[in-house]
Symmetry: C2
Subunit: 357 residues, 2 copies
C-alpha cells in the first residue's frame, strides 16, 4: 500500500501491488519483481498526489464540496495519476507540473463519476455509499461541476504548452461519450463499433491525456509524446474491456461492485455484445426484460449469461483482445530509449489483462 503521507481514511487500491500479487500467484516471478520495483519508484510520487487530493475542495464547506471530497476519499486505483507519473519519468521525472496533472486527471475522472452516479441512480461505489446517497443528487451534480472547473484551472495555471487545449478536447470527448452511452442504454442490439466509440471517448481519451500531460511535464519531445499517447489510448481501451469483464466474472468483494451492474443499467458492454452474438435468444430475453432503459436481470438470464460467458468462450475472447491491445500499447513504446520508466510502462501493460479488481 502506498500510504506515506496519506490520510488514514483514504484507501487507495495499490493497483501495482495488486497486479504484483496476481503475477506472483501465477508464478510470473520476473514480472512480479519488476512490479515491486515500479511500486517503489512511484511510492513517493503517489503519496504526494494523495496528499494534494486530500485537500481538494477544502476551500468550500458545502454539500457539493463534501460530495467531491467523499468520493475522492474513497480512493480507487489512481491509474490515471500513475500514467502521468510514469510518463513524466520517461523525461526528467515527476515535478510540480506532473503532480498538478496527476491530481487534475483524477479530479476529472471523479467529476465524471459523480455525474454518472446521478445519471445511473448508483447507490454503491468503491464499496461504500455513493456521494448522492450521502449528500443528494443536487450536491453530486454541483460537486462534479466543481471538480471539473477546479481541475481545468489547475491545468491552466501549470502553464505547460499544449496541455490545456488537449485537456479541453479530452473533456469534450469524455462528455460526448457519456451522451452516446446514455442514448445507447437499453438498446440490446447495439454494435461493437458503438461500444468502441464510447470506450474511446469515455476511458481511452483520459488515459491518452494523462500520458501526454505527464510526458510534456517531463519535457519529453513531441514524437515520444505521440508514442506515449498511443500507449495511453490502447491501455485505456484494454482497461475498459477488463473492467467490463469483471462486471460478469469479477469478485464483488474485490471490485466493490455488484455483478451485472452494467447490464442492470442497460449498458451493453463488449462481453455482453459478444454473448448476444453467441446466443441470439439472449437478446430476445433481454429485450423482454427491459423496462425503460433498465434490464431486470432474472435468475434465468443470469444463468444464461454465465453459461455463454464461460462455455461460449466470451471471457477468454475479451481477455485475449485486451492482451493484444496491451501488447500493442507496449509495442508503441519501442521508439523510446530504454529506461526504467519505459520498462515500467511495459510491465503495467503486460499485467493489465491479469487484474481481478
Amino acid at each position: 500500500m502506498v500510504t506515506k503521507g496519506v490520510k488514514a481514511d483514504v484507501k487507495t487500491d495499490d493497483v501495482v501491488a495488486t497486479l504484483g500479487e496476481v503475477t506472483a500467484a501465477r508464478g510470473m516471478d520476473a514480472l512480479t519483481a519488476r512490479l515491486e520495483a515500479l511500486q517503489s519508484l512511484l511510492a513517493g510520487d503517489l503519496a504526494e498526489v494523495e496528499e494534494a487530493l486530500g485537500v481538494v475542495g477544502l476551500e468550500g464547506d458545502t454539500p457539493a464540496h463534501r460530495s467531491a471530497r467523499h468520493l475522492l476519499a474513497l480512493g480507487g486505483k489512481r491509474l490515471r495519476p500513475i500514467c502521468v507519473a510514469l510518463a513524466a519519468h520517461v523525461g526528467t521525472g515527476f515535478n510540480e507540473a506532473a503532480k498538478t496533472f496527476a491530481v487534475a486527471v483524477e479530479m476529472i475522472h471523479n467529476a465524471t463519476l459523480l455525474h454518472d452516479d446521478v445519471v445511473d441512480l448508483g447507490d454503491r461505489r468503491r464499496g461504500a455509499d455513493t456521494a448522492r446517497v450521502v449528500y443528494g443528487n443536487a450536491a453530486s451534480i454541483f460537486g462534479g461541476d466543481f471538480l471539473l472547473a477546479d481541475a481545468l484551472c489547475r491545468v491552466q495555471a501549470a502553464g505547460v504548452d499544449g496541455v490545456l487545449p488537449h485537456m479541453l478536447k479530452t473533456v469534450k470527448e469524455l462528455v460526448t461519450a457519456e451522451t452516446l452511452q446514455l442514448a445507447a442504454r437499453g438498446k440490446v442490439r447495439s454494435s461493437t463499433s458503438d461500444y468502441f466509440r464510447i470506450a474511446q471517448g469515455k476511458t481511452a481519451s483520459l488515459f491518452r491525456w494523462a500520458m501526454f500531460a505527464g510526458a510534456r511535464a517531463g519535457g519529453v519531445g513531441l514524437r515520444e509524446c505521440e508514442a506515449l499517447e498511443a500507449y495511453g489510448g490502447m491501455l485505456g481501451l484494454a482497461f475498459q474491456i477488463v473492467d467490463d469483464v469483471l462486471d460478469y466474472a469479477g469478485d464483488p468483494d474485490a471490485t466493490g461492485k455488484d455483478l451485472l451492474t452494467d447490464l442492470r443499467e442497460g449498458k451493453m458492454t463488449y462481453p455482453l455484445l459478444l454473448a448476444v452474438e453467441r446466443d441470439p435468444g439472449l437478446a430476445v430475453a433481454l429485450e423482454a426484460n427491459c423496462r425503460g432503459d433498465e434490464v431486470s436481470v432474472t435468475p434465468e438470464i443470469a444463468r444464461r449469461i454465465g453459461r455463454v460467458m464461460s462455455e461460449g468462450g466470451v471471457v477468454p475472447e475479451c481477455l485475449t483482445l485486451a492482451t493484444r491491445m496491451c501488447r500493442d500499447a507496449a509495442k508503441s513504446l519501442e521508439i523510446l530509449p530504454s529506461s526504467p520508466a519505459r520498462s515500467a510502462l511495459e510491465d503495467v501493460a503486460l499485467a493489465t489483462p491479469l487484474r481481478r479488481k
Copy 2:
C-alpha cells in the same frame, strides 16, 4: 424583434426593444430613441449569434444534445451576447472572435440553467417545459456538461490572449456560487452578504467575462478592458436584483415564470431578505412552512409578502439599489472616449432597472 437569419421557432426576447417599449410608455423619448438606434446597431450581430446558436450540438443526435438544443431554441434575453457585442464595438467592432465569445457565453449560461433545472426540479422555463421534463434529468445533466465543454473548446480555439484563463476562473466562480446557493437553500435567516456573494459568482462573473472577452476581441486596451469589466460586474448584479424583484412583482405572462418560484425553492433572494428584516414574524412563518429545502407558500404567506413588498417599501428599495448600481456601471465607462458603443452601454445600464420581464 431580431429575426434576420434566425430560425422561426427561436423566440428571442429582444431585450433592447422591450426596454424601449418601457421607456416609451414612461415618456422617456430621448432614451427610447437611443435604444432604437442601439437595436439597429446590434441587429446584424445578434442575428449572426442566433444563427450560430441554432447549429450548436447538431453534431450529435442524443437526448443530451437535444436537451441543449431545446433550451437554446427557447431563446431568452441574450443579454450576455449583447454585452460581448457592445464591448467589441468599443474597439474595432464585432468580428469572428467576438461572435465566438458571444455564442460561448450564451452556451455556458444555458449549461448552468440545464443543471439548475435538475437541481431545482424545475418544470417550466421561458414559458415552456424544461429540457428535463422533455428528455429527462440524465439528458439535462450531460446536455449541460456538453455545452460547457463545447463552449470552452470554442473559446480556446479563438486564441485571443487572456480570454480562456479568465473564462476558466469565471466557470469556477459560477460553480462555487451554485454550491453556495444550494447550501443556503431553505435557510430563511441568511445574510445579505451571502446573497451578494452568490449573485457575484452566479451572475456578475459571467457579465464581467462577456465584457472582457468582447473588448479583447475588439482589441480594446487593458485599462479600458478593466473599466468594461467593472461595468459588466455592476450591471450583472443590478440585473440579478431586478430578476429577483420580478419573482415577486413581475407579470408571469411576461416573465414566463410563476411568481414566488425562488421562495418555493427555498432561495432567499435580496427582496425576500429585506422583507424578513422589515417583518420579523415572516421569518418565523417561513420557517414553519419549510419542508427540507423548500418553502410551502400558503395564501397567508403570499399576502404577507405582498404587503411588506409594497407597503414596507421593499420593491422600491431594491430598484433604488439596482438603479444606483447601474449608475455606477455607467460611471465606470467615463475613462472611455465617447462613442456610439459607450453611449449604448450607458443606455442599457439606465434602462436595466426599468425592465419588467
